[in-house]
Amino acid sequence: MDEEIDIEFEFDFEAKLGPLGSFLQRLALDKPLREEWNRDRARAIADSGLPAGDQQLLLSGDLAAIQRQIAKESGQAMVWICIWIR
C-alpha cells in the first residue's frame, strides 16, 4: 500500500499563467497568431515577446520540457486523469 502524504493537487482557477502558458493559450484562441505560427514558426516565436529561455523551448518543440516550464511558472501541478483498476 502506498503511503498517503498530505500534498494536494490543487489548481487555482484564479491563478495567473506565466508568460509561456499565456502565449500557448493565446495560440489556441487567436486565429491570426495561429496562422502566423503555421506559416513561419520561427518568426512567430521571435515576435512573441517571450523570454529567451521560453523562446528556446518553443523552438525545440520539446513538449515535456514545455509542460515542465508551464507548471513551474504558474506554480501549479501537472495532473493526469486516470482510471482505477478494480
Partner: protein, 256 residues
C-alpha cells in the same frame, strides 16, 4: 434554480481546437462547472468559459488510493446536482474513456432520477491515430490499461495493433505528480514473450497545445525503460505480420 441535472462533457485534448459546439454550449450555460483537466493552461482556458468553475483536483493526494479520490469527486458532483443546479462535469479528453468518476456520477444521478447525459469528445486515442498515421481497421486494434493488462494477463493477438494506456503509472494504485512506472520492467518482460526484442514500439503523448508537436518516441521494445515514459504516455505496439485470410471463410463468404 431548477430541479438539478448533470451533463458530463469532455474538453478534448487541445483546448479550443478540440471542444465541440455542443460541449461549449453546456459549459457556458451551466450553473456550476466541476472540472478535471490536465494542466494549468487548460484550467485557465476552462475558467474563461464559465465564471463559476471549480476544480476536482483537490481530491487527489500524493500516494492516496485513486479510488478514494474518485469517490470524493462523485460525491461533490452529486451534491451540486441534488441542490438543484444545472451541473456540468468537464473532464480532459473524452469523458467516458479512462475516467472512472464520470461514469459513476452519471449512474448515481440517473438512479436518483435527475436528467443526466454524457457528450462525446476527442480522446487521446483519436489523437494517436491521427499523429501516428495508424488506421485501427487495417489490422485490428487492442486497447488495454497497462496495469490491467498485467494483472489479468490479457490475451494478445500480435498480428493486430496493441495500445497500452497509462504506462506512466503502470503498477501503481496511488496518485502521483510525475511518471512512476514501477511495473514497466514487468510490462516489457510480458511483451517480450509475444514480440521480438527489436520490435519497434512508440511511446506517445498527444500535445495539449495547438501548434506544438506530440511526443512520439520510437525505440526497440527491449530498450524501453522508465526514462522513456512521461506521466501521460501511451505505448503503441505495431502489429507483426498481417494474418492471412482463412480459405474456408473466404469460400463460405463467396469472396475467394
Amino acid at each position: 434554480m431548477g430541479s438539478g441535472s448533470l451533463t458530463v462533457v469532455g474538453t478534448g485534448i487541445a483546448l479550443d481546437a478540440h471542444l465541440t459546439t455542443e460541449a461549449r454550449a453546456e459549459l457556458e450555460a451551466a450553473d456550476v462547472v466541476l472540472g478535471l483537466v490536465a494542466d494549468p493552461v487548460a484550467q485557465a482556458w476552462l475558467a474563461r468559459l464559465n465564471r463559476n468553475v471549480r476544480s476536482l483536483h483537490r481530491h487527489y493526494r500524493e500516494g492516496r488510493d485513486r479510488a478514494l479520490a474518485y469517490e470524493a469527486m462523485v460525491d461533490e458532483i452529486l451534491a451540486e446536482v441534488r441542490s438543484g443546479k444545472r451541473v456540468c462535469a468537464a473532464f480532459y479528453g473524452h469523458p467516458g474513456i479512462f475516467v472512472t468518476p464520470s461514469h459513476e456520477a452519471l449512474r448515481r444521478a440517473r438512479d436518483e432520477g435527475f436528467p443526466s447525459r454524457m457528450l462525446p469528445a476527442v480522446s487521446a486515442e483519436d489523437c494517436l491515430f491521427a499523429d501516428l498515421g495508424v488506421d485501427p481497421a487495417a489490422c485490428g486494434c487492442q486497447s488495454y490499461e497497462a496495469t490491467d493488462f498485467l494483472l489479468r494477463r490479457r490475451i494478445v493477438d500480435a498480428t493486430a495493433a496493441l495500445l497500452l494506456w497509462q504506462v506512466g503509472t503502470v503498477g501503481r494504485r496511488g496518485a502521483s505528480g510525475e511518471a512512476q512506472p514501477a511495473g514497466l520492467p514487468l510490462l516489457v518482460e510480458s511483451l517480450l514473450e509475444r514480440y521480438p526484442a527489436g520490435h519497434e514500439v512508440v511511446v506517445y503523448e498527444a500535445s495539449p497545445y495547438p501548434g506544438i508537436d506530440p511526443i512520439a518516441r520510437r525505440l526497440p521494445l527491449e530498450r524501453l525503460t522508465a526514462a522513456d515514459v512521461t506521466a501521460l504516455s501511451t505505448l503503441y505496439v505495431p502489429p507483426l505480420e498481417q494474418r492471412p485470410p482463412d480459405a474456408t471463410a473466404l469460400e463460405r463468404l463467396g469472396l475467394s
